[in-house]
């Protein structure tokens, strides 16, 4: 095994598995490009079902990557989600790591 290949594997193991999951990656990417979005906006943009979106947002919230604010306006629920500072940093790091991996993998072929 060459040194480069070893580095590539090390980068892969550095990936944040919580972010790497496709549904959560889609949610975080959507939230990264805006300041905040409501639940309704994320549904069509991520292509997830209500239950799935809710479940993945809860996981991200538990990890401290997103902040969820729930409010009732005229007796109707309104959920606003936004990335925390930590969530933003984690997503940025994820992108950088993915870039390194892709560079190394494409360089090895």
């Amino acid at each position: 095994m060459s040194r480069d290949e070893g580095d590539g594997l090390r980068h892969i193991s550095e990936l944040d598995k919580l972010v790497h999951e496709p549904a959560r990656l889609a949610i975080m990417a959507q939230l990264y490009i805006v300041r905040s979005a409501d639940f309704l906006f994320l549904l069509p943009q991520t292509g997830l079902t209500t239950g799935n979106l809710s479940r993945h947002i809860s996981k991200l919230e538990e990890a401290g990557y997103v902040k969820v604010e729930k409010e009732f306006v005229n007796k109707k629920p309104h959920t606003i989600i936004q990335l925390t500072e930590e969530g933003r940093a984690v997503f940025r790091e994820y992108i950088e790591t993915m870039k390194d991996i892709m560079k190394e993998l494409s360089g090895s072929t």
Partner: protein
């Protein structure tokens, strides 16, 4: 670099989701169409009423788009761009209204018919150009490419109207029908986009959105 580009494209898609509903198209189409009808008939007050589409636009956005698309707060850069856009259009439409007032005052003076007709023709070409530029800028600010097509189409209509005279037909009448034709086409396109929007974003029961 590629990931930055893709995130920018993702942000553009999120932004344009708000305008892929055809409501802006319908509003602009209605404005141009009403303006044209107001000029071709004795109901000239319709030209002033054309501005009422602003209220239609606001009401339609609130009742059709927001409950389906949801609510987003965009990045500070985007919000800064939105502020600049608003300021620009306030200045733009103020100048347009002022120009209209000047032409109206000129037309109501005691000038010979030929001069009044020439001034009227110039005013209409001016308005057509202003509308074409405004549509182009809407495309630029909102990042919706079909508005460039509308602007291009409007320009072609203007140039065709200036270059080709129909014998026996008053040039003013031709211009008025240009407004109606162009407005009608934009309106039709808007309805098609709206139908597509309804398919893409069906209404959601208890979707969790509340307009604020």
């Amino acid at each position: 670099m590629t990931s930055d580009m893709n995130l920018k494209e993702l942000e553009r898609k999120a932004w344009t989701a708000y305008f892929d509903d055809g409501i802006l198209d319908i509003s602009i189409g209605l404005f141009v169409l009403t303006f044209g009808i107001g000029m071709t008939t004795q109901y000239s007050a319709l030209t002033a009423l054309a501005w009422m589409v602003v209220f239609f636009f606001a009401a339609a956005k609130k009742s059709i788009t927001l409950p389906r698309v949801g609510l987003v707060t965009f990045s500070p850069e985007r919000e800064e761009r939105m502020k600049k856009e608003k300021s620009f259009f306030v200045v733009f439409f103020s100048i347009t209204a002022l120009l209209g007032l000047v032409f109206f005052l000129v037309l109501t003076t005691d000038l010979p018919q030929s001069v009044r007709s020439m001034v009227g023709e110039m005013a209409l070409v001016g308005y057509e150009l202003i509308i074409a530029v405004a549509i182009f800028l809407v495309g630029y600010w909102k990042q919706i490419r079909r508005f460039y097509v509308y602007a291009g189409f409007f320009l072609v209509v203007i140039v065709a109207g200036v270059l080709f005279d129909v014998p026996g037909v008053n040039p003013l009448t031709i211009m008025m029908y240009q407004f109606i034709g162009a407005g009608g086409l934009i309106l039709l396109s808007g309805f098609i986009v709206l139908a597509r929007f309804f398919r893409r974003y069906p209404g959601r029961e208890g979707g969790g959105y509340v307009a604020r």
